[in-house]
Amino acid sequence: MSKRIFIAQPLRATLMLLLCLALAVVAATGGSYWLRLASTAAMYVVLASSWNIVGGFTGYPSFATAAFFGLGAYVAAIAQTRGLPMAASWVAAGLFTAACAFALGLALLRLKGHYFAVGSLVVAEVLREIMAAGGTLTGGGMGLNLPLLSMAPQAIGRLYLAAFAVLAVASVLLSWAVLRSRFGAGLACIEQNEDAAVMLGVNTTLYKSAALALSALLAGLAGAVYANWINYIDPGDVFNVLLSVKPIVMALLGGIGTLTGPVIGAVGLVGLEEIVTRSFLDLTGVVLGLAVVALVLFLPHGVNGLAFMGRSLKGRQP
């Protein structure tokens, strides 16, 4: 387990520092466009880290990130349309989503492998349909509008970047805390061999659900902030399957189960997508598809593979 934190630590630490620096620069001087791009990157850091807790640390390939993101967005939006102030609605969104995830996890996490993947994927679909059929409470198919903040556009941009950045830092810190804790050790046992973990006395049901709840807390908070950021949500947008898949690709890219992997992967993929969109317009989807395929075929260990070509990694599970 210590391997995960300390792989290429100097390199990764430098990278993290550089990213923080870039973030500070953008926050201080960036125009609206850069603020938006940085906010998107920070949001995905949160989502990728969130996924990493369930998918990386615990070994359960969750496709439910979109479900929690969307749920968080809707709780925040509904709360605000009923008069709750923004910050309070964010907290409510995070907690509610985490609670739901915990309860859901008790049932869902009994599935393994493909079945778990499919089940987690379907949760987002079911939630989307429920929101779409929700009439005036959820806005139904027409979506919900959130109030605009009455501040200058630049200031608004900075505010949201700050919010996402705080969440991003929090998610990395949370992951770090988990990794160093007994809880994290338990999760690692589950990831390696769940039956053995049970025999060792790990309360796997509780641990797995807690991991899912933590993951959902982060994703739900991200969704809540997102709702206010864009000022308009509808079922198709916030429960989009890409919100589940992209964080996974990011974690794969940066290195599953590591602390800084999701960060590197998130920033990397968001940057890549931006470059691709600017250069390829019509063929963006095609190029992205190619990139994902290439990633999976040639870099199954993410950037770790690049950094350690020639070094034997046979000991590590694929």
Binding site: V286, V293, P318
Partner: protein, 287 residues
């Protein structure tokens, strides 16, 4: 009487859903790959039938056979040269790979054909009216074609040597190797078969549903549900799953209103996953 009509509609729909699910089930059940490309393959098959109809005047049911052949080659090639390399990796990796491939194929289709909806326009046929029930001719024919394809595949799997090696590999790949079955080759053939089935499904559906790359996700969703409901790797299971889904949707729309029908089908999927993941007729295993 209305209820009888609803049930009939459900059955017709069920046959169509079974066809959509067949290729997906075989690949998932035997090769243990969730093929996200499945929906896009169906759309590709539909486009094939559309162009065959437009430029060669071929009826989709005729174009089906050559298209199936092409589909088989495509699938087999894909598995042998790309997917095979990640088969040993975790579930996650193969899923992500097929997801990436799907992104590629789907966007290529949008680029090549545009997202405009096309339709294979066959001469309009009046529905058949029997005992107060209306039977839409096009759906009936498609359903019969679908049932035929599923049956033919079932015979292939149970009666031929190839089929037996597929079943053997499904039950126990290591034992199968010991018995002299070339597992790699079988995987490639199975994937090819799954792709061919998807292409054929697309051709069968082309006169009924509008054709566009954006429909791929709906087809994939149905395939998922059919497989989980019916059980993996078993063609009778696919038929069972399809029919159950068709009936549930039809009855659901009738009693609860159309806006809840998708919720109902996905909810059912979730329920089955949690309570009976092997589906109605499947065998436990393939986690």
């Amino acid at each position: 009487m209305a209820l009888a009509q609803v049930l009939l509609n459900g059955l017709l729909l069920g046959g169509i859903y079974a066809c959509i699910g067949a290729g997906f089930s075989i690949v998932w059940g035997v090769v243990n790959i969730i093929n996200i490309l499945h929906g896009s393959f169906i759309v590709l098959g539909a486009y094939g039938a559309f162009f065959a109809h437009q430029h060669l005047g071929l009826h989709p049911f005729m174009a089906m056979l050559p298209l199936a052949g092409l589909g088989y080659l495509l699938g087999q090639g894909l598995q042998r040269h790309l997917i095979r390399h990640v088969m040993a990796a975790k579930v996650l990796v193969t899923l992500t790979l097929t997801f990436g491939l799907n992104l590629l194929l789907n966007n290529l289709m949008i680029y090549a054909f545009s997202a405009d909806f096309r339709k294979v326009v066959l001469p309009n046929q009046e529905p058949l009216v029997l005992a107060g029930l209306t039977l839409p001719m096009d759906r009936l024919l498609s359903m019969l074609a679908a049932a035929g394809v599923v049956l033919a595949t079932h015979l292939l799997v149970t009666r031929t040597m190839l089929g037996r090696s597929i079943v053997a590999v499904r039950m126990d790949p290591q034992a199968a190797t010991l018995m002299g079955v070339d597992v790699d080759r079988t995987f490639a053939i199975t994937f090819g078969l799954g792709t061919a089935l998807a292409i054929v499904a697309g051709a069968i559906l082309s006169p009924i549903f509008p054709i566009s790359p954006t429909a791929a996700d709906s087809y994939l969703g149905k395939a998922f549900i059919v497989c989980v409901l019916g059980g993996l790797g078993s063609l009778p299971g696919v038929l069972a799953g399809g029919i159950v889904l068709g009936l549930v949707e039809s009855l659901g729309a009738f009693y609860l209103g159309p806006d809840h029908s998708l919720t109902l089908s996905f909810g059912l999927l979730l329920l089955f996953l949690l309570l009976r993941p092997q589906g109605l007729l499947g065998r436990k295993g393939f986690e």
